[in-house]
Structures are given as C-alpha cells and as structure tokens.
C-alpha cells in the first residue's frame, strides 16, 4: 500500500514542533497502516465515507472557516491535518481584515503591553490603527514607527 501524500510548502512564521506538514490530497494517507481494509480507493465502502469536506478545494474550506466563530475555529484546529491547515490560513485572513468578536485568546500579555504603550504615546492626528493590525506588529517595530512619527510632528 503506497502512501499517497506530498510535502507542501506553507508560509508560516513558526513551524509546528519542527515537523513537516503533510498536505493531503483527496485520499487518506495510511501512515500508520491502521487497517488494511482502509484503502485509498474511493470505491471502498468498508472504510468510512470519504470526507467530502476535506476533498473540497482549499479555497472553499477557507471561505467556510472564515464564517466560523473563534471558539469553533479552535475545535476545528484539532479535527484533522487538512482542516487544521485551512483553519490557520482562515485565521490569518480573518484577522487581517476584520476585528474579531472574541479576542482574548489572540492577545497575549506582550501584545497587551504593546497596545497600552501605543495608547499613551499616540500622536493626536495619527490615523487610528485597527486593533488587529496593532496586535500583529512587533513591539519593537511599533516603537520605531512611533518615534519616526513624532520626529516629523515635532519639526
């Protein structure tokens, strides 16, 4: 039984446990050779029905996940590899363009500190940054930006 998977390159800032991510194609991979009856063939009915959801083009899965609330995204993260992949991408897209309704899990203590600092030194005419954009910025970069703004204003 040959394994039918391929390594995919994904853009991410941190690797998960330094493990390679296997991007599944539409067939299961029997990495553990759990059961000899679980074949890759779609025609096999003794195994579970093929997951239609995972077989969808990733664009659709991501679109679906963009409509999912944060708490449910967390559950989806644990469902399977393909869903997890899509969840990660959806999360990044989601928070790039909209303010999340429930944010606590995504603002760690460092971000909180960064936000507070910004509020204190924000220039009066500076355009308001969205919370989301702010939380994704590195604290050092943010400090550098703020300094540059002030240098212009003071002159």
């Amino acid at each position: 039984m040959e394994n039918n998977y391929r390594l995919g390159l994904v853009r991410r800032t941190s690797s998960f446990g330094r493990k390679r991510v296997f991007i599944l194609n539409e067939f299961d991979i029997d990495v553990d050779a759990i059961s000899p009856t679980k074949k890759r063939s779609i025609g096999n009915s003794s195994g579970s029905e093929r997951s239609l959801l995972e077989a969808l083009p990733q664009d659709i899965i991501i679109k679906v996940l963009c409509g999912v609330e944060h708490d449910d995204l967390k559950s989806l993260f644990h469902v399977s590899n393909p869903i997890r992949e899509a969840t990660i991408i959806a999360k990044k897209q989601h928070f790039a363009y909209s303010t999340p309704k429930k944010v606590p899990a995504f603002l760690c203590s460092v971000d909180q500190v960064g936000l507070d600092d910004d509020d204190e030194i924000e220039a009066p005419n500076a355009p308001k940054q969205s919370r989301v954009a702010r939380s994704r910025l590195d604290k050092k970069k943010l400090a550098g930006l703020s300094v540059a703004l002030f240098a212009d204003n003071e002159e």
Binding site: K19, L52, D59, K63, V79
Partner: protein, 151 residues
C-alpha cells in the same frame, strides 16, 4: 437579455438540463462561456458537477433570477440548504466552479453554522472526517500554546 433562448447544461454524468439563458447566466462561468463561445454555445458542459447537484443549482438560479425580489426568497434559501452535509459540500463545490456567488456564500455559511458548538469528535462524526494526527501530534496540539503559535 429578454430573449427566450435556452441553454443546455450537461453534467459530468451526462445528464442534460435545458434552462432559460437568463437563468444560466446567473452562473458567471456559464456567462463567460456563452460570451466567448460564439453562436454555437447552446450546450455547455459542466464537468465538475453531477446531475443531481446541477439540478439543485439550476433550481437555485431559477428562483433567484425569476423572482429576485420575492418575499419568500429568504425562506427559499433557508429551506434550500436544509440538506445533509454531503449535499452541502456538493453545492459549495458546484457554486465555486460555476461562479455563483450567492449560492457559494449560502452553502459556505450553512456549513460554517454546522460547526457551531460542536466538539472535535462531533465535527469528525458529522463530516466523516478521519483523525489523521499521530498520538504524538495530538498531545502537542492539546497544549494550549499550540493554538497561539499560529497567531
């Protein structure tokens, strides 16, 4: 586009459906095929969609083209997606390939709503998803930090 011209749509399994051109044009993919295909584009193949699903897609397009302002459009949509997850996935895929935004939005949102409040196991069960994590990976994923790593 007031002509009574009809278009024949042919599914992956050879089923054919004759529809008003106006209805067919609700699919931007078909619209493009017609516009670029010239006078002979009266039969259009839709190889990504089976007959069963295409039939439903056409039903959706018909309603939205022929009665876009009807009061019952919303309830039509609600009832339209009261189907099992398999049909929903087929509809999402069909609307994606046929470029029917309304239907793609509707089916995607319906699938998204099906995840609400479900546990991991319940999601797997509903959608027949196999757990493909190794025990080691599962253990790592359970740690609270792993979720935040991908922020």
């Amino acid at each position: 586009m007031t002509s009574s011209k009809t278009i024949v749509l042919r599914s992956s399994d050879g089923a054919t459906f004759e529809v008003d051109e106006a209805v067919a044009l609700h699919s931007l993919m078909i619209k493009h095929r017609i516009e670029t295909g010239g006078a002979d584009s009266t039969t259009i193949d839709v190889p990504e969609v089976t007959g069963n699903t295409l039939s439903k897609v056409i039903e959706y397009c018909k309603k939205h083209v022929e009665a876009p302002n009807s009061d019952d459009l919303k309830s039509f949509d609600t009832d339209f997606v009261k189907v099992d997850q398999a049909v929903l996935c087929h509809l999402a895929k069909a609307s994606y390939y046929m470029n029917i935004k309304g239907l793609l939005d509707l089916s995607s949102k319906t699938i998204a709503d099906m995840f609400k409040g479900k546990t991991v196991e319940q999601i797997r069960e509903t959608f027949h998803i196999k757990n493909d994590f190794t025990p080691e990976e599962e253990e790592e994923l359970r740690k609270e930090n792993s979720w935040n790593l991908f922020v």
